[in-house]
């Protein structure tokens, strides 16, 4: 059964349709990379999944259970939305760590507020996540004392602390100096081996090619093409995909 099933998602801002009828599904443990030119709606799609934006039409189901339906948008109370968004995690382009908390506190804050176990359990889990992203010696550092790559790894650990069903990344390395992207991509690669279901919006084509089970190419709010990395990169069916891949190749 699919972990995630999205059907006919639509979202507009004012009168511009940003997502036009998005449908796709994802199996457990799969990694989906979303590529596409600027303004094609990639961020908006992730934000709809995390309920930072409300789509006006369509459905989202996780593990077979419908958690969002554009039809009864108005009737859904805030607490239910809060509950449902915990199926998803989101790692931001700009990290958004809480500056006044240490690495450990950044990770334990939400589980503590959501009463996800005893303080000892929460701390133990946080520490194992910190080890997993390779930052044990930075446990008590503040975000301002970390490099961008380290901050992003903390952000990943923070998202994992709530064990989301699907972890989303919005261009996790775009705000980083080129020499720091590797350490973050490595963490994401390791997560894949740990059976984490992920959606990664990225401009790193090599990374997308090597880590993904599926590639989605978005253009103007629609899924122009979706398939395995071999299909999309090796043998793109759509003219738009081909043009996009060529132009992104030229940049390197």
């Amino acid at each position: 059964m699919a972990v995630l099933e999205v059907n006919n998602l639509k979202k507009s801002f004012d009168r511009t349709e940003v997502l036009k009828d998005i449908s796709f599904s994802l199996e457990k443990g799969e990694v989906l990379s979303i590529i596409g030119s600027s303004g094609s709606g990639k961020t908006t799609l992730l934000r709809c999944l995390n309920f930072l934006e409300r789509a006006e039409k369509g459905t989202i189901a996780v593990n077979g259970k419908e958690i969002f339906n554009g039809e009864n948008l108005k009737k859904t109370p805030e607490s239910v939305i809060r509950e449902n968004r915990l199926h998803f995690g989101l790692v931001f382009q700009s990290f958004n760590l809480f500056p006044q908390y240490t690495v450990l506190q950044n990770i334990t804050l939400a589980p503590t507020l959501l009463k996800r176990g005893t303080p000892e359990e929460i701390e133990e889990k946080a520490k194992s996540l910190i080890a997993r992203v390779g930052l044990t010696e930075k446990t008590d550092f503040y975000p301002c004392q970390l490099s961008g790559g380290q901050q992003q790894r903390v952000a990943i650990a923070r998202a994992l602390a709530l064990t989301p069903d699907v972890l989303c990344f919005d261009e996790p390395t775009s705000a980083l100096d080129p020499e720091l992207t590797g350490e973050v991509l490595k963490v994401i690669r390791d997560l894949k081996n740990g059976d984490c279901t992920m959606i990664v919006v990225t401009h790193e084509m090599e990374f997308a090619k090597s880590v993904s089970d599926k590639i989605m190419f978005m253009a103007d709010g629609v899924i122009e093409e979706m398939g395995t990395p071999e299909e999309v990169f090796g043998n793109p069916k759509s003219e738009k995909t081909r043009a996009f891949l060529n132009s992104s190749l030229e940049q390197f």
Partner: protein, 233 residues
């Protein structure tokens, strides 16, 4: 020497009143300002408009004028209402306190005035926190209240300390306006020496009291600022 001690004693007494005005204003205006700032950021336009107009009026007129209006205003208004023949227990009651406790009038006007100034500082601080901080809290399943108190508040506090310390040091000096309605704070006490004994120097001497107190406050704010320098936001 004798005279110096006498003057110092009197001025200290006056400065006690100054400190009372200062403390009461802070104690009430700090929380009230937060409530007003929420009003001015409300998603409900009529409320936002009302609160913003109120803040504009208070910030746009002299505190001295507000003091006089609050001291004399209610009584005069009630008398006027009575003269028009209306007799309602509330109006009669207000008319009976034409001379509201002077100190109460000072406290009320200072609290309202400073709450409005503080509210603008709070609003600036709250609005300066990036959207990403709220969204990070949201995707981690926190409630709005949790996000405000656990994520945003301390960052706001850190950012508003410099403007707040300015405003609070201004308050120290503004307390002298209380003498407009004959509340015997330190300047009033010093002026009494001019009338009574022809002494001018006690008035200059009051500067020492202000300077010592604002000096202590400055040190305190520097200390808080240093305490919060462990993070950057």
């Amino acid at each position: 020497m004798d005279q110096f001690l006498r003057v110092t004693g009197n001025l200290l007494e006056g400065f006690g009143m100054t400190l009372q005005i200062f403390a009461i204003t802070l104690a009430f205006a700090l929380p009230l300002g937060l409530i007003i700032s929420f009003g001015s950021m409300s998603k409900f336009p009529p409320l936002r408009w009302l609160v913003k107009t109120f803040v504009w009026i208070i910030r746009g007129t002299p505190l001295m004028l507000q003091l006089i209006v609050i001291y004399y205003g209610p009584g005069l208004a009630a008398k006027w209402a009575q003269s028009l023949g209306s007799s309602f227990f509330l109006i009669d009651w207000i008319a009976s306190w034409t001379l509201m406790e002077r100190f109460t009038a000072v406290a009320v006007s200072f609290v309202i005035n400073y709450a409005c100034y503080f509210s603008e500082i709070y609003r600036g601080g709250i609005e300066s926190i990036s959207k990403g901080q709220y969204e990070a809290g949201q995707v981690l399943g926190m409630t709005k209240t949790q996000i405000f108190f656990k994520v945003v508040l301390l960052q706001v506090v850190k950012r508003i300390i410099p403007p707040m310390s300015n405003e609070i040091i201004t308050l120290v000096k503004d307390t002298s306006l209380a003498r407009t309605i004959a509340v015997y704070e330190v300047i009033w006490q010093a002026q009494a020496f001019i009338k009574r004994d022809g002494l001018l120097w006690p008035l200059f001497y009051t500067a020492v009291f202000y300077l010592v107190f604002s000096g202590i406050l400055t040190l305190l704010f520097n200390y808080i600022e240093k305490k919060m320098s462990y993070f950057r936001s």
